[in-house]
């Protein structure tokens, strides 16, 4: 009896895994486009609780390639002041994973670009990892970036569940990551890699330096099997352009949060912001 059940579950899993790999919007995107990809980050619930869909639609209208929606957290250790403050504001506004999933329900009627959720592991654990993955699949989230869930712990405890629901887990590398660890991350990733531009938290880097270019060169020379985008410190056309010379594209986060804080969520404003980055 037990054995039978196991076999059935494994078979289902295999079928699901095959389905999810062929249907994943992220792999589709990278198979269609490999240069100057732009992903924009915004914190769910900022500036206002119900801005999520408005911002998503405007970013899609502005032709960004994909988005990372931040799941706000009380203690975002990898984030600088701008993202921290947007997290705090979003929590004050009442944002939670439950609310976010409710907002995203039905978003796939008109949002076709890939959606990633980005945040910290604790709220996901409290939501329940399986529940979380199931909800992601249900509303059409393609992957997650959880900076405080290292690859080893992900593989040991959560990879099976994530794969079962076809949710990608995106790992990061930084200038201090050793070559052997980059190889390991590349081997275990199936989507893309998030390349952190410098030893830093979000929003704290100014411009691109020589040592940064050396690091970009070093990674480029490794010919990784996964595409990778550069994030942290990408805040204008110049930095986006530099990143795109070395990688498949770049992430913009803090700069967009500042834009929302100063100019609000109007579609025109968001289009203009994205155009300035892309130029």
């Amino acid at each position: 009896m037990n054995d039978n059940r196991l076999i059935t579950k494994n078979d289902n899993q295999k079928i699901l895994m095959t389905l999810s790999t062929t249907q994943n919007r992220i792999s589709d995107l990278f198979s269609q486009k490999s240069e100057r990809l732009l992903s924009v980050y915004f914190t769910a619930g900022f500036p206002n609780l119900n801005d999520t869909l408005t911002i998503l639609r405007s970013l899609q209208a502005a032709n960004v390639d994909f988005v990372e929606i931040g799941m706000p957290y009380s203690d975002p250790v990898a984030d600088g002041e701008t993202v921290q403050q947007s997290n705090g504001r979003a929590l004050d506004n009442g944002m939670s994973l439950k609310t976010l999933f409710a907002q995203l329900q039905g978003c796939r009627r008109d949002i076709i670009m890939p959606i990633l959720l980005m945040g910290y592991i604790n709220p996901v654990l409290q939501f329940g990892v399986e529940n979380f993955c199931q909800k992601c699949q249900e509303v059409g989230v393609d992957g997650v970036i959880l900076p405080d869930l290292p690859l080893d712990l992900y593989l040991a405890d959560y990879a099976t569940t994530f794969r079962e629901y076809g949710i990608l887990n995106v790992s990061m590398i930084s200038p201090q990551t050793s070559e052997s660890r980059i190889r390991y991350i590349d081997e275990e990733s199936n989507g893309f890699i998030y390349m952190v531009s410098s030893a830093s938290i979000t929003g704290s880097v100014k411009g691109t330096s020589d040592s940064m270019r050396q690091y970009f060169d070093r990674i480029k020379a490794m010919n990784l099997r996964n595409p990778y985008l550069i994030g942290f410190g990408i805040n204008n056309h110049e930095t986006f352009d530099t990143a795109s010379q070395y990688a498949n594209g770049a992430f913009v986060g803090s700069a967009f949060i500042r834009h929302l804080a100063q100019n609000g969520t109007s579609e025109e404003g968001i289009k203009e912001f994205v155009q300035t980055i892309r130029a």
């Binding site: 939670s96 405080d148 290292p150 405890d157 990061m172």
Partner: protein, 399 residues
């Protein structure tokens, strides 16, 4: 199925950094090389005879160890059991915190680090860190919640006098948890030349184990001293307060595998466990991840970390070290929650009975004694983790 959380009967950390379900290293990739460098080297560094010699010499000549184990006769008579006080309050800088900072600065030197970053709540760990940085001539940056800086101005002045830069943590609730976040961010931004001296048995592996090892001098001395006084190394109870839990980890360390010794951990109930103003983590928390380890954590239903409260700045931390979470879950430790008022009263009592003014943190441990159903034949060691000078402002409001 979940390979990292196999049931564990031992109280030693696994090579992946787990105590039972708790521990690990939940850190951003940007911190991985730093933490990994430490993990790969700390055991060898500590085991090195030259390190050992320098560490013990400093504990003896600079910290003032061994600290006395004092038979508190009048307190014993009042409680109705034999109570010994392990006098960590007599350490240089006034608390056990310096045992750890001495150990870690020697590790930092051997890793070739030039700068030290630390977090502090009440300022005791900050002072202990600034002290060893002055001693070794290393640059010292201490993050402290801006609210705590106002509450603990004398310790801010001490740190500055010792040459440290004290940086206000202005994010979040502006207390210990946020100071820790800021120290971690600083470390992310300065990964090569900086060592982060965490002040308690919290944080990513190997910190909880490394800090526990440096603090284990407390129970090592208790064993010898108790044997000399009563002819056995094992008391019936060891009692210590727990914020993150470093003095408790040190006092429990050599008794973890001695089931005849009950380990008593005392948390701060603040204005009452159910008052909404409490730091009684095991009573109020659930498993979660904070500051790099899976532990028991005060949090909302959505997994947002709750701001704790206690009259004692050293105990208002929303988590506990993973070792303590394991002691709680496995039943190896007895956990008590003591209110502000009970702690204040115990502080006043010890002052009058024994002529020792305890830190408010320590007063929580003392306040648990009447609740423990002690028998006249029981031998109890209380870790007197710190002295109360820093708390005179608070005490004097209740005189």
């Amino acid at each position: 199925m979940q390979t990292t959380i196999e049931p564990q009967t031992s109280f030693e950390v696994t090579n992946k950094g787990f105590y039972g379900h708790f521990g690990g290293a939940f850190i951003p990739e940007m911190l991985y090389p730093n933490v990994e460098e430490l993990r790969q080297n700390y055991l060898d560094i500590i085991a090195d005879p030259a390190f050992q010699a320098e560490f013990w010499q400093l504990l003896e000549d600079y910290v003032g160890r061994p600290t006395p184990l004092f038979l508190a006769k009048r307190l014993s008579a009042q409680i109705g059991a034999t109570i010994y006080l392990k006098r960590e309050d007599l350490c240089h800088t006034g608390a056990h915190k310096i045992n750890n900072t001495i150990g870690q600065i020697l590790v930092a030197q051997r890793l070739g680090k030039r700068r030290i970053v630390a977090e502090t709540g009440a300022g005791q760990h900050g002072v202990a860190t600034a002290t060893v940085c002055a001693l070794m001539g290393l640059e010292c940056i201490v993050y402290m919640g801006s609210i705590d800086m106002e509450r603990q101005q004398p310790n801010v002045d001490r740190m500055r006098m010792l040459g440290a830069t004290v940086v206000p943590a202005k994010s979040g609730s502006q207390t210990l948890k946020d100071a820790t976040n800021e120290a971690m961010r600083h470390w992310i931004n300065n990964p090569v030349d900086t060592h982060y001296i965490i002040g308690s048995v919290v944080g990513p592996h190997p910190y909880p184990d490394m800090v526990a090892r440096f603090q284990s001098v407390i129970s090592e001395e208790i064993k010898k001293q108790l044997f000399a006084k009563v002819g056995r190394e094992t008391p019936d109870y060891v009692v210590a307060c727990v914020g993150g839990g470093s003095n408790a980890a040190g006092a429990f360390f050599h008794y973890l595998n001695e089931p005849s010794v009950r380990l008593v951990a005392v948390e701060a109930a603040g204005k009452g466990v159910s008052s909404g103003h409490s730091a009684a983590t095991t009573a109020l928390g659930k498993p979660g991840v904070l500051h790099g380890s899976r532990t028991i954590l005060m949090q909302t239903e959505d997994g947002q970390v709750t701001e704790p409260y206690s009259i004692s700045a050293g105990l208002d931390y929303p988590g506990i070290g993973p070792l303590h979470a394991h002691l709680f879950e496995s039943g190896r430790g007895d956990f008590y929650a003591i209110t502000d008022d009970e702690a204040l009263q115990a502080g006043f009592e010890l002052s009058k009975l024994e002529g020792i003014i305890p830190a408010l943190e320590t007063a929580h441990a003392l306040a648990a004694l009447p609740k423990m159903n002690l028998q006249p034949s029981d031998v109890v060691v209380v870790c007197l983790s710190g002295r109360g000078d820093k708390d005179l402002n608070t005490y004097s409001k209740h005189l």
